[in-house]
Symmetry: C2
Subunit: 190 residues, 2 copies
């Protein structure tokens, strides 16, 4: 009988339970931290491998091959450095959100907005470096661009490995955005 | 007194109003349709411009320049064709969602998941074609790759314009994902 005297009390419970239930959602922040750390590792490895690929051949004069001789590889190194720095900052933000769950919905939105930009940067840089590296590997007889990987084998191995790791980094970024989007969607009331 | 006899009735109203209010969110589906049409236009223009760039010079023998001579440009045309096809399908899906608002939250999630993949494809293709086009424009004296744009001016103009339009398409895709993410976030209860 006391429940009928206080209708406000019976009304309050469902309203409070619904957003709380929805706001819980599916929580992937631990995966998020792991993936962001993977992105950082991929960016670091990628930059280190291409930078250490410098090679000098004596043909018979010394002719060095360096990543900074190609604007495509310079852009690649710059883009992956940005991605590495970004992944450090967002790993910290993600760790902070685990301790402050109230921030999570807002942070998921910001993660998607920025991750998309970083994906654009990494993907285009991987494409740029990969495209030029492919010309170096195969050459292009239509325009008389000779292949160079038969001469600079170490340089080409490093560039190839670096591009492959950056491709892995792009895939990690795609999965990161998928996780955030899925996590955000699970908070929307059905 | 009849309301106290049916507590289920008083409980029902707040629960139904909360998700309805949240599910309304901010609705950007009209912008979504416009942007997806823009992406379609950009993809189409980009493919048509690079395909029509074929040029033959007599030096003195006939030496044609065609996009299909470069694997980078072939990948570019394939990627942009996929993006064009995808944008037609999703424009229709977006129009369908305007008439069926119940689908919107689910569709926003799917849009983000697929748009991210398409962004990766367009951005990497733009980078690949742009990187090779830049070598064609400037050459690279370190590896004796001569510039070719002083010979094939029309071909290079077409490639450059096509890459620029594809870059615009990438930016449109980024904005599309931003819109979907923001719209999804606005449906999450505060």
């Amino acid at each position: 009988m006391s429940s009928t005297d206080k209708p406000g009390d019976t009304e309050y419970r469902p309203t409070s339970s619904t957003p709380a239930q929805a706001a819980a959602g599916v929580d992937y922040f631990k995966f998020d931290v792991i993936l962001r750390f993977l992105l950082f590792a991929a960016s670091l490895v990628s930059v280190v491998v291409i930078v250490t690929g410098n090679e000098t051949k004596f043909l018979p004069l010394p002719r060095p091959a360096k990543f900074r001789y190609s604007p495509a590889f310079v852009y690649f190194v710059a883009a992956l450095s940005v991605a590495g720095l970004y992944s450090i900052i967002t790993t910290l933000a993600s760790l902070y959100a685990i301790k402050n769950p109230a921030l999570k919905a807002k942070l998921l939105l910001y993660f998607i907005l920025w991750d998309v930009l970083i994906l654009g940067i990494i993907a285009s840089a991987t494409g740029t470096a990969g495209g030029v590296a492919y010309v170096g590997l195969k050459g292009n007889k239509h325009v008389n661009w000779g292949k160079i990987c038969n001469v600079y084998d170490k340089f080409c191995r490093h560039v190839g490995a670096s591009v492959a790791v950056a491709l892995f980094g792009s895939i990690v970024t795609v999965v990161l955005i998928w996780l955030s989007a899925y996590s955000l969607h699970s908070r929307v009331p059905k």
